[in-house]
């Protein structure tokens, strides 16, 4: 049996492009041939822009609906800049999906807390879609989102929509409020002590900048949530996405194949050490 070459991208096409925030867009990609492969919430793809390069981007669409790959990304470098500049009809290379995603089966029966910092909401959104598709299998579902300012809140209309659902609690906080802001002000870990979480029942899914995840994990531990029930989506440099280029090593883990979602009890010690 010959496995497909894991290094060879497949040609996909930009079907839709939506501007989300300053410098951030959502691209919907459709395959030029064949169907969209299955993916699990929390997995990522390697997206290639002709002549520029390739970068790892989380999947942020619904894993159970649609025929496209949805990616929300920000312009933070040459490749992501070229990706955010792509227009409808443009051709891109796609490899993936790769990695281990959120532990949604393990979360069944539990209260689920999703904590997002900034664009970290993008990799969490497929988890939320999956939970809402089988809402009855989960206990309380709380989503906390921290953003720099009200204009920086990702998926804001969708969050407003979710906020109106009786079976979902949405807590938003911003670092810097404006005159119209009526919500919380401050960093996202500060929301945790006031959420009335039942620590024995709660499983936490966290994605955001590493420093935000470190503080969030500490706040979750302080709230009594066990380390093995805290899951973080890590980010490291990646070239191959299949555990062979070495770049994404994080202590004993390859973020690309052991992660990107890693359990806190396994990474807490090294997360606290600079430059691991």
């Amino acid at each position: 049996m010959t496995a497909p070459d894991p290094f060879l991208p497949q040609p996909w096409r930009v079907e839709r492009r939506r501007r989300e925030l300053i410098g951030a867009v959502t691209l919907e990609l459709a395959p030029l041939a064949g169907a969209r492969p299955d993916f699990a919430p929390g997995q990522f793809n390697m997206l290639y822009v002709f002549g520029v390069g390739e970068v790892a981007i989380s999947l942020s669409g619904d894993a159970e609906r649609g025929t496209t790959f949805v990616h929300t990304l920000r312009n933070v470098g040459a490749v992501s800049g070229a990706l955010t500049a792509l227009q409808v009809g443009a051709s891109v290379g796609v490899r993936g999906p790769f990695g281990r995603g959120w532990p949604l089966a393990e979360a069944e029966g539990a209260d689920v807390l999703l904590v997002a910092g900034g664009l970290g909401l993008a990799p969490l959104r497929p988890a939320l879609y999956a939970i809402l598709a089988r809402r009855e299998r989960y206990g309380r579902v709380v989503i906390m989102v921290g953003s720099r300012s009200p204009e920086d809140i990702l998926y804001r209309r969708e969050l407003e929509h979710w906020r109106r659902r009786p079976d979902l609690e949405v807590l938003l906080t911003v670092d810097h409020a404006d005159a119209d802001w009526r919500g919380h002000v401050g960093v996202v870990p500060a929301l945790i002590p006031h959420a009335g979480l039942d620590p024995a029942e709660t499983l936490a899914l966290v994605c955001g900048p590493e420093v935000m995840m470190r503080f969030t994990a500490n706040a979750l531990l302080a709230a009594g949530i066990r380390p093995e029930r805290i899951h973080l989506s890590m980010e490291r440099n990646m070239k191959c996405a299949v555990g062979q280029c070495g770049h994404c090593q994080f202590g004993p883990f390859f973020v690309c194949k052991d992660g990107p979602v890693l359990r806190y009890d396994r990474i807490g010690t090294i997360l606290a050490v600079p430059e691991i």
Binding site: Q244, G251, I270
Partner: protein, 385 residues
């Protein structure tokens, strides 16, 4: 490689027999690579016969030091690990992965698969044999396989070499990887050289090896020949220039990421990446995308990379490992510790190349011993999974 025969057969070749071996491999379509002297070093490259081998040469190695010297005999393999390993043939420093063209309907990707070279490696030492097995685990035995590597590997004919010399930076005995080649070869040579003879005991490790050996002028191996070969290996094992205490090393290094020794070694380390380039197990690569001037086509090229470069760990906002301390710690901890978590073995085979080729002579055995001498355990678990 095909299955090992149940009994090891052996024969004895003289120099003419060794010449016949090289010719027999070439006649079977292999590109025969072996040691030769070039640029004042032993390098591995294409050889046509015994005359190309480094007869009468040895090397003097030490931390940051490598010199070729004349021997007082005509030994063909009387030196220790050469600067390059066989990695450069199986996992080449530069390799085109794929090409892409801008087509009418979109991008057209195609693999850059080239004809797989069929290599015969002459003189693969036990440490390097272990290193090849380690790279097999990294590149072939996970969920994803590097097919081009796997094809080169499968096609290779390996003539191993049981070492008759140990260098000052060798420590394969500590790593359990030498100096005797254990399996995973087609043929294995031991050089038998004294006033009375210059011969090679040849052991068979595969059916392909047996077939080649059967075609060569030889004489049957006597018990005395086997005993002489065993004595060569035993003498080499007793002459290791270095040793490394590996007991508990996996936990020791992961438990000591803030040991002051990392700061101390960082004062000496130049982050030059030499150790990773000469290491026979270091597998890290990066990729470059090259496009033509007209912008109609591009290709993706994979190159050896090193965890000692700042770019290696770059993510938006800056590199994860900004300091020499962070980078040296990553390299050594990976090599001696986290490699076990990832691939079930040490990433070090004790070849000593990283010591010899470090321009400031940093010695991995000395660094590990220093941390062992004064462990500063911070507590907590170490990457159990």
């Amino acid at each position: 490689m095909d299955a090992l025969p149940t009994t090891t057969t052996a024969a004895v070749l003289d120099r003419d027999g060794l010449q016949a071996l090289i010719e027999a491999l070439a006649a079977r379509g292999f590109r025969v690579l072996g040691p030769l002297v070039r640029d004042e070093a032993i390098v591995y490259d294409e050889i046509a016969g015994v005359a190309d081998l480094p007869a009468g040469w040895t090397d003097r190695q030490g931390p940051g030091q490598y010199r070729l010297e004349r021997r007082d005999d005509q030994a063909l393999f009387g030196f220790a690990a050469a600067p390059q390993s066989w990695k450069r043939f199986l996992h080449p420093p530069v390799e085109t992965l794929w090409r892409v063209r801008q087509g009418e309907g979109g991008l057209l990707f195609s693999t850059a698969a080239e004809a797989t070279p069929r290599y015969a490696f002459l003189g693969v030492r036990a440490c390097d044999l272990h290193a090849i097995a380690i790279q097999d685990r990294v590149l072939c035995e996970g969920d994803y396989r590097d097919d081009a590597y796997a094809r080169r590997r499968r096609g290779a004919f390996i003539v191993a070499l049981n070492c008759s010399e140990a260098g000052d930076t060798c420590f394969c005995v500590s790593m359990g990887s030498g100096p005797k080649a254990a399996g995973a070869f087609d043929l294995a040579l031991t050089e038998l050289l004294d006033e009375r003879r210059h011969e090679f005991l040849v052991e068979v490790g595969s059916a392909a090896g047996g077939e080649v050996l059967a075609s060569l002028p030889q004489r049957a191996a006597l018990d005395a020949d086997r005993a002489a070969a065993a004595a060569v290996v035993e003498r080499t094992a007793g002459r290791m220039g270095r040793q490394l205490d590996t007991a508990g090393l996996q936990a020791l290094l992961q438990d000591n990421p803030e040991h002051p020794r990392w700061d101390e070694v960082a004062e000496r380390c130049l982050s030059c990446a030499n150790c990773t380039m000469v290491c026979p197990t270091c597998f890290c690569t990066t990729v470059e995308d090259h496009s033509d001037l007209a912008g109609g086509s591009a290709e993706r090229v994979r190159l050896w990379d090193s965890c000692f470069t700042l770019d290696f760990s770059y993510i938006h906002g800056g590199s994860v490992r900004q300091t020499d301390k962070g980078r040296y710690r990553q390299w050594m901890t990976h090599k001696l510790s986290t490699w076990f978590d990832q691939f079930g073995s040490s990433g070090c085979v004790g070849c000593g190349r990283c010591i010899t080729w470090c321009p400031v002579g940093i010695d991995i055995t000395e660094e590990a011993a220093a941390i062992r001498a004064t462990p500063h355990v911070q507590g907590g678990s170490h990457g159990e999974s």
